[in-house]
């Protein structure tokens, strides 16, 4: 897994690549929590365009961050889902609570 983080005001853009499974879940969780904990970030933009596979371990990390952000009035936006990733996200119900955008720019400009 490759993870790149970029702060943008009260937003944090996280670009993920590779396979998001149990092997990388702990590392991803720590990295995101570290970044979300330092600053008053309320909007996490997950750019998943480099993600070739995600399973329930990866979904668990995303859902956990969503819950933490929700508690502080924040949200998660999704960008760049490949068909398989989108299908997994749909089946798990995550797409009903997180909005998908066509690009990072649109996600950052998106509604509060």
């Amino acid at each position: 897994m490759i993870l790149q983080l970029e702060e943008n005001g009260s937003s944090l853009v996280a670009r993920l690549a590779g396979e998001i499974d149990l092997q990388v879940a702990d590392r991803l969780r720590s990295a995101l929590d570290g970044a979300l904990g330092e600053k008053p970030v309320r909007h996490l933009v997950l750019d998943l365009s480099g993600v070739s596979l995600i399973d329930s371990s990866g979904l668990g990390v995303i859902l956990g961050r969503y819950r933490h952000l929700l508690q502080r009035g924040g949200r998660i936006s999704l960008v760049g889902m490949r068909p398989l990733v989108k299908r997994v996200m749909e089946l798990s119900g995550l797409l009903t609570i997180m909005r998908e955008y066509a690009s990072e720019g649109e996600a950052l400009a998106g509604p509060e």
């Binding site: 499974d21 149990l22 092997q23 596979l53 329930s56 819950r67 398989l84 089946l91």
Partner: protein, 175 residues
């Protein structure tokens, strides 16, 4: 099936018990493979790739292979998390077989097993993914059969219909 073996049939039209299986009990596999790996998350990629490579001999769509990889990932993750409670030295067997109209994957551990419903592991407090794994297996496969026995382990059998070309000489062969 013995009386003390616990079978969980999950509804939703996708999951059945051994009765009504896509593969008749006397069916002969056209091809098989088995890999054994230790219960370490780093081996998940190997399990996924081994099964996908095996089934790539069939004329599957890429999306089907990808979904099968997710199903394998879920089954092996369950063995690591719930069967062996993250202990890194338990054996997990991943088998795949091709029947005339069906693909079959069996993931088996010799871990804790369970009675009744599978339960989330105690401990790390963040198991948001629990439960979603089974839902994904059921979505991506046509049949998921879970057999578990406390103290002896868990076996997950997943089957999916496939257009399997008939062998040229079904009754011939030396293997």
């Amino acid at each position: 099936m013995t009386a003390d073996t616990n079978t969980i049939a999950r509804d939703g039209g996708k999951t059945v018990t051994d009765a009504g299986s896509l593969v008749p009990p006397d069916a002969r596999a056209l091809n098989r493979m088995t890999v054994s790996l230790l219960s370490q998350p780093v081996n998940l990629g190997l399990a996924r790739v081994a099964v996908a490579a095996f089934f790539s001999q069939l004329d599957l769509m890429l999306s089907e292979l990808e979904e099968i990889k997710v199903a394998v990932s879920e089954a092996v993750s369950n063995a690591i998390l719930h069967g062996y409670r993250r202990e890194p030295d338990g054996w997990i067997t991943v088998s795949a077989a091709i029947y005339p109209e069906t693909m079959e994957i069996v993931v088996e551990d010799r871990g804790e097993g369970f009675d009744g419903e599978p339960r989330p592991p105690a401990g790390d407090g963040e198991e948001e993914g629990f439960g979603m794994g089974f839902a994904l297996m059921r979505s991506f496969m046509d049949e998921v059969v879970l057999v578990s026995k406390p103290g002896q382990g868990t076996q997950v059998t997943m089957r999916k219909k496939a257009r399997v070309p008939a062998p040229a000489h079904p009754s011939a062969g030396t293997c």
